[in-house]
């Protein structure tokens, strides 16, 4: 259970939001909506602990995330604007590195399946792939991250074609059905059955 209490965020001398209080339980999906510059990315970065809010706090299962540190990290999958994919490495190597950093250890077969499911060639350096395929390589992490109960996704649907967007939707749906929590941002309705929408 993720709780945000009275969050306030100031960036560059401008107050983006204040008094933001919400919670996301297991099996719930929260969509963060709002125009560009409304603070969607900042909110997600605060929720995963990359950014310190100017006021308020974030709690995970009752404990402050700053106190949990690496313990919290093991429970979270964060996918930011930048895909966190290294150009020099192949899709398979990227996935292995990402899993190692997150403390996950999928089997070789699971990793292959994850890449195949998203249609990412595992043996080519990512440099040779298109922007959309790179995004898919980043999303491959979703299908091996079932152990992380909380998914925080920043604009997961950008640069995806219809098939990949559908696949992402079903990945998010599966995760919620498993009892995971999802918080994702997008400026248009992605067609998911959201439990709640947070308008910034």
């Amino acid at each position: 259970m993720l709780e945000a209490r009275n969050l306030e965020c100031e960036r560059g001398g401008r107050r983006l939001f204040q008094g933001m209080t919400f919670s996301v339980g297991s099996g719930e999906t929260l969509r963060v909506a709002g125009p560009n510059g409304s603070g969607k990315t900042s909110l997600l970065r605060i929720l995963c602990g990359l950014l310190t809010p100017s006021a308020g706090e974030v709690r995970w299962n009752g404990a402050r995330i700053q106190a949990l540190k690496e313990e919290f990290a093991r429970h979270v999958l964060y996918l930011g604007h930048a895909p966190a994919v290294k150009d020099e490495l192949t899709g398979a190597e990227n996935l292995r590195v990402a899993c190692a950093l997150a403390g996950l250890s999928p089997s070789a077969q699971q990793a292959r399946d994850a890449l195949a499911r998203l249609g990412v060639p595992g043996d080519k350096p990512v440099r040779q792939l298109s922007q959309g395929q790179r995004r898919r390589a980043a999303l491959a992490r979703l299908s091996v991250s079932w152990q992380a109960p909380l998914w925080l996704l920043d604009e997961p649907f950008t640069a995806l074609d219809a098939a990949a967007a559908e696949l992402t939707r079903s990945l998010l749906g599966e995760h919620a059905q498993r009892g995971g929590s999802v918080v994702y941002s997008t400026h248009q309705d992605a067609g998911l059955r959201d439990s709640r929408v947070l308008e910034l």
Partner: protein, 216 residues
């Protein structure tokens, strides 16, 4: 795992590694050409010149230590990773040293040849570099993390880090000079070793703190 990844990336970008090494070779070869081929003079300046070239060459690759990871978002994943950030910072510094420090140690005796350095001093020179270059990678990591995402970060990095390199330079070059004077360079080498231990113990955590600040 992080070390393996860094080495893999370095392998696929061999030109970057080669640039730093060639820079080291070229800079230390320029001095005999500029100063003239007077053997006594060359012998006297050899340790200092080789050490300064090593400092600059290590600086050269420092700017890229975290910049690429910062740009493509991997750094965020490291900050949020399951492993303590200090451990990752240490692994990155170690990989940086393997790629940019260790080759210098290997090639330094070859350059010493140009300066007509006595054969007995090659060992001291290589040993001082072996102990000193990891300190450069570790301390440089703090600077690289602090200047991340700053405009004109490269110059700032040099201004920030080079003064911190001074003790390493003094001890490193000093050890070879002392050995050539027949006094033995053990004292300086021991101090270099102590610096290495202190840097290995503290620098990764300072780097981690700096990375947290710059990834906000």
């Amino acid at each position: 795992m992080v070390v393996w990844r860094e080495l893999l990336v370095a392998m696929r970008r061999r030109s970057d590694v080669a640039t730093a090494l060639l820079f080291f070779v070229v800079v230390s070869s320029l001095f005999p050409l500029g100063v003239g081929a007077e053997p006594n003079k060359l012998r006297a300046i050899a340790p200092g010149v080789i050490w300064v070239a090593a400092l600059l060459s290590s600086m050269l690759s420092l700017a890229r230590l975290f910049a690429a990871d910062h740009a493509d978002g991997t750094l965020e994943q490291m900050v949020l990773g399951a492993a303590p950030l200090g451990v990752i910072a240490a692994a990155k510094a170690f990989a940086h040293w393997l790629v940019s420090g260790l080759p210098l140690v290997a090639i330094a005796p070859l350059l010493a040849l140009q300066y007509d350095l006595e054969r007995e001093l090659y060992g001291v020179l290589a040993l001082s570099l072996l102990l000193g270059t990891p300190v450069l990678s570790l301390v440089g990591g703090i600077g690289a993390a602090l200047t991340l995402g700053v405009r004109g970060g490269g110059v700032l990095l040099a201004l920030l880090v080079l003064p911190l390199y001074v003790p390493v330079l003094v001890m490193g070059a000093g050890s070879v000079e002392m050995a050539s004077a027949g006094l033995g360079g053990q004292g300086q080498l021991l101090i270099l070793g102590a610096m290495l231990i202190a840097a290995a113990a503290f620098a990764p955590w300072a780097t981690a703190a700096a990375l947290r600040i710059s990834s906000e």
